[in-house]
Symmetry: C2
Subunit: 153 residues, 2 copies
Amino acid sequence: MSTNSRFAVAVHVLTLMAWSDEESLKSDQMAVSVNTNPVVVRRMLCDLAEGKLVVSHTGSTGGSRLARNPEQITLLDVYRTIEATDVFSLHPKRPSHRCPVGSSIGTVLQGVRAEIDSAIEGVLAGITIEDVMLRLKPQARRPEVKKKRASNH
Amino acid sequence: MSTNSRFAVAVHVLTLMAWSDEESLKSDQMAVSVNTNPVVVRRMLCDLAEGKLVVSHTGSTGGSRLARNPEQITLLDVYRTIEATDVFSLHPKRPSHRCPVGSSIGTVLQGVRAEIDSAIEGVLAGITIEDVMLRLKPQARRPEVKKKRASNH
DNA sequence: GTTATTGTAACTAGAATAGTTACAAATGAA
DNA sequence: TTCATTTGTAACTATTCTAGTTACAATAAC
């Protein structure tokens, strides 16, 4: 995945939408919290919408909200939706097929990568957006009383 | 770790050295198998030498060989030595500390990353360079009789 | 119609990646 | 000693990746 922060941004905006409950959020609002450009947020929201994790609407009263409950969205859903880059890359140029090691090291490395992917997916499948909210610092937590409330960034 | 192939190259050259047994290999030879420039290999070998995984010697009869037996080098050793990049990056610019989510999402994400790292390390700790050799295609395997033999790439 | 918002294309600056040339330092052999 | 060979490393380059930015058509509510 790597030197790209798409997963972090995705989890962030999903958590914002979970936080604001039914209230739909504008890309501008979320961009302030994420500290980036609204277009970066909108691009991410498009991807998340394709993955059926959020629903967006155009128009003056538009915005985005979660497509399902926070406890029904796992970080694995997010990970898959954003099509994260591989955990590690194979050789930029194919190794020598004339060398006994070079000719099959790629297959071996793909196997290792598959094992790592399973492990990662096991972790991510066990964490939901609801869990992420619960892990936020106490003072940041949404009140127990699950009442509709304005978001505040 | 990501869009960088250093882990793949590291495992590749270590496997070449394991294959060639006591015979020390030149960076030029390994570069042919990896299909890259010898300097790229030498840079990697320097890192691996710092991590005490290989030993190199300058001079006309120089070259590199493993610092210990293939079964005593795990992929976790390699992973740590090359200082792989993070599995995923946090936000390029710090989120808003004025937003309840933005102010603590970073800590939550670091926690998630730590869980992923543990999982990855568990996998990598269980695979040695010896295992990698055993996973090579049968026709590529070094003969059972562990006799010194010239490498062939 | 006016206004606010998304979706998306096009461009940019900066960073990361690995490939390349070049050469000093080390080592062993003639 | 002198020569050949190899590592270690600096410096530069081309390419790709990343995310930031501007701009604007399409959409929807009022």
